[in-house]
């Protein structure tokens, strides 16, 4: 046991010390946060420049209303849009030509042309140097529409205020019913669950590769026989796998601290920076999801880690390992491909079967737990099967490993590996 501890310590320190680990651990959450925050933040970044917009109102009745409606403010309280009325002394086209020139000369940011027949189907025009700001176009378009619709309604003798009350859309609140009652679900829970499943998938592959590389390095550097003169091959393998699991938990712990800090403080920060985002709710994840996450990480990790260790012991170089690693990686990719199906049909028979199959269960059962907590018996069944399969894989890998790790030269074919397993 003391020897295994020495190996665990060595593996842990050697990896935690690498630049790759430090950068990955710190930049990982920063990068993920940036992916989420930057697009959201950009939406709320206020334009801090007033825009001067000309209006050619051929009806002569809309300008006042439009000026009232477009009262968005900048940070300092001044109006975002400054509307200037232009009246056509001669033909409208001449005035439009004049305003085109003003826009090009940057005297105006844009101008709006409202034709006389706007109420009966005519089209208004928005002319500017660049027209890609859909936020601004939306503001102007909806202001114009509501004025014109109001005008039309009044023309028919109807009260626009009443009508808009009648036309109010029906709200569709989504709620989740569970054994613990009805909960409000904003959709954020789902997104974070999705993220958890992806984290599990990525770390399983990542740490599997580290183990693979570690075993191959031990073999190619010819270190292994020196180590084996002090301990059993199984102790070396166990120490390596547990040591790297400890690295994984360290990384998760650091990320969890980041995450907790983010949920705790980010709302305040976001609200302060972007008052418009005050309604933004940080989604909450029930704690049982984290417990299952850890359990399935442990199960999945040991299952895949032993398989990667077995492959590492069979080959002589990382290049040689690639062919053998492929089927193992496929076992991890298949559940990712099935994710959307499971999310849409969490309780279908196929979903239940798939999520109990040991190689898929770490990812798929966790996903089902996130989407819709399955009956406990199913979770227990998938965990039991996962545990038994993992024990079986450890047993068989230990047999392959102890022979393979001392074999150099030609890569063994399947029949030889079966022979290895039979050796005393």
């Amino acid at each position: 046991m003391k020897k295994i501890l020495s190996v665990i310590k060595r593996e842990y320190i050697q990896i935690v010390r690498t630049k790759g680990f430090i950068i990955g651990t710190i930049l990982g959450p920063v990068f993920m946060l940036a992916l989420i925050v930057v697009p959201v933040a950009l939406q709320f970044v206020a334009v801090d420049q007033q825009e001067k917009i000309g209006v050619i109102d051929e009806t002569g009745e809309i300008f006042m209303g439009l000026d009232e409606k477009l009262d968005q403010r900048l940070k300092d309280g001044t109006r975002r849009y400054l509307l200037v009325n232009f009246e056509a002394a001669g033909p409208v086209d001449e005035l439009k030509q004049e305003l085109n020139n003003k826009v090009l000369a940057k005297e105006l940011n844009a101008y709006i042309h409202i034709p006389e027949d706007i109420s009966s189907g005519g089209e208004a025009e928005y002319v500017a140097e660049h027209v890609s700001d859909f936020n601004k176009r939306g503001n102007i378009g909806s202001a114009l529409s509501s004025i014109v619709i109001g005008k039309r309604l009044r023309g028919e003798g109807l009260d626009p205020a009443k009508i808009s009350e009648f036309m109010r859309p029906v709200g569709l609140a989504t709620k989740k019913v569970t054994t613990r009652g009805v909960e409000k679900d904003t959709g954020g829970t789902f997104i974070l669950s999705y993220v958890l499943v992806l984290i599990l998938y990525m770390t399983l592959i990542f740490y599997g590769q580290i183990i693979l590389r570690g075993v191959i390095e031990e073999k190619t550097s010819r270190m292994v026989e020196i180590v084996l003169s002090s301990m059993r091959p199984f102790q070396l393998m166990a120490g390596k796998i547990v040591g790297i699991a400890a690295v994984g938990f360290t990384q998760y712990a650091i990320w969890a601290i980041f995450g907790l800090a983010a949920t705790r403080y980010s709302k305040g920060l976001i609200t302060r920076a972007f008052p418009a985002a005050a309604g933004f709710e940080m989604p909450s994840i029930p704690s049982y999801i984290f417990i299952y996450f850890v359990l399935f990480f442990i199960g999945g990790y040991f299952l895949y880690a032993t398989m990667y260790a077995a492959i590492g012991s069979m080959v002589n170089s990382e290049k040689e390992a690639q062919n053998l690693v492929m089927p193992v990686t496929m076992f991890l990719i298949i559940p990712i491909l099935l994710m959307m199906f499971i999310i849409r049909n969490p309780n279908s028979t196929l979903s239940v079967i798939l999520s109990v199959i040991p190689f898929f269960s770490p990812i798929l059962m966790l996903l089902r737990i996130c989407v819709l907590l399955p009956p406990f018996i199913q979770i227990a069944a998938s965990m039991l099967l996962l545990g038994l399969t993992t024990l079986f894989m450890i047993w068989i890998t230990a047999k392959i490993y102890r022979v393979g790790i001392l074999m150099y030269g030609k890569r063994p074919h399947f029949a030889e590996i079966v022979k290895w397993i039979r050796y005393r």
Binding site: K2, S6, R222, M223, V227, S229, L406, K419
Partner: protein
């Protein structure tokens, strides 16, 4: 007392015999040469002594006890296929390996410093292994083998890659250890080294023992009908002499085995005048000659039977 007792061990890999019915004993406080051509089964035998692989039949006793994992703390093993973790610092790696042998960090540190100084490597303690030359890595590996002061030390080709100065240092340390009562198993292909260092030998070929015993006695058995000739000139004519059963010519040096009952003086008389004789020595055969004879003969037998 025997430091190692191997009795009738057999190891098969599939239908291939790596070691077949092998027995030998090593008296404590001696240096034992484990010899044999490539693939003879030496490494498999050593791995079984180290409990790395388990014999199909037979038993192994180290220091009078059946081998188990704890025994490994009393054995130091320098494998032929050896290397070090390239990214670790020399000091850290040695502490790690000493801890695996049951030493505490503190004990290990003192021992490691002492050994590093002796091998002139102390300045390299904080350097990464990959920055060391091959010879330096060899010395680090040797330190790892003996840092826990084992009673039984197994050295598989310990001198390969070492310059003459370090070879001498290592040989001196081996003799010191023998004087201190330690037992050393020495495996190599360099017969002249075995001749100079070993007390007893065991020669293995094709999984089986072909020769075993005290080195001096073995040589005496082969009789004093070998001549070492140190010469200058063209000595090709000697090869046609009928009295010679075997000849090994190195160009300036010749090892000649005479047929039974042939007087060496006869040969001396014939060569004088034809070549310049610097040295003419009548003695028992070299271990090299015995090795080639034993292994070579078996090869011929085998090729006939096929």
């Amino acid at each position: 007392m025997n430091a190692l007792e191997i009795s009738r061990i057999t190891k098969c890999f599939g239908d291939f015999y790596a070691v077949k019915n092998l027995s030998f004993c090593i008296p404590a406080g001696t240096i034992y040469g484990l010899l044999g051509p490539n693939g003879a089964g030496k490494t498999t035998t050593i791995r079984m002594v180290m409990n790395i692989i388990i014999p199909d039949q037979g038993s192994i006793k180290v220091l009078q006890r059946t081998i188990d994992e704890e025994m490994k703390e009393n054995i130091g093993y320098l494998p032929e296929d050896r290397g070090l973790y390239p990214k670790m610092k020399v000091g850290e790696l040695l502490i790690f390996l000493a801890e695996l042998k049951g030493l505490s960090g503190q004990e290990a540190r003192a021992q490691i410093d002492r050994w590093l100084k002796r091998f002139d490597l102390f300045d390299w303690k904080m350097k990464k292994v990959e920055e060391l030359s091959r010879g330096m890595q060899q010395k680090v590996q040797f330190i790892a083998t003996v840092v826990h002061e084992p009673e039984l030390i197994i050295l598989d080709e310990p001198f390969s890659g070492l310059d003459p100065v370090n070879t001498k240092l290592l040989k001196d340390i081996m003799l010191e250890m023998k004087a201190a009562g330690k037992t050393i198993i020495f495996s190599t292909h360099r017969m002249e080294q075995v001749e100079m260092i070993c007390d007893n030998i065991c020669l293995i070929d094709r999984a089986e023992k072909v020769l075993e015993g005290n080195l001096n006695q073995i040589k005496q058995q082969y009789g004093k009908n070998t001549i070492l000739l140190d010469y200058e000139g063209d000595a090709a004519f000697i090869k046609s002499f009928e009295e010679i059963s075997k000849i090994d010519d190195y160009g300036r040096y010749m090892e000649i085995k005479l047929k039974e009952q042939v007087d060496p003086q006869l040969l001396l008389n014939r060569v004088v005048g034809h070549i310049r004789v610097n040295k003419f020595e009548v003695r028992e055969p070299t271990l090299n000659a015995i090795f080639i004879e034993k292994v070579g003969v078996r090869d011929e037998e085998n090729s006939v039977s096929h």
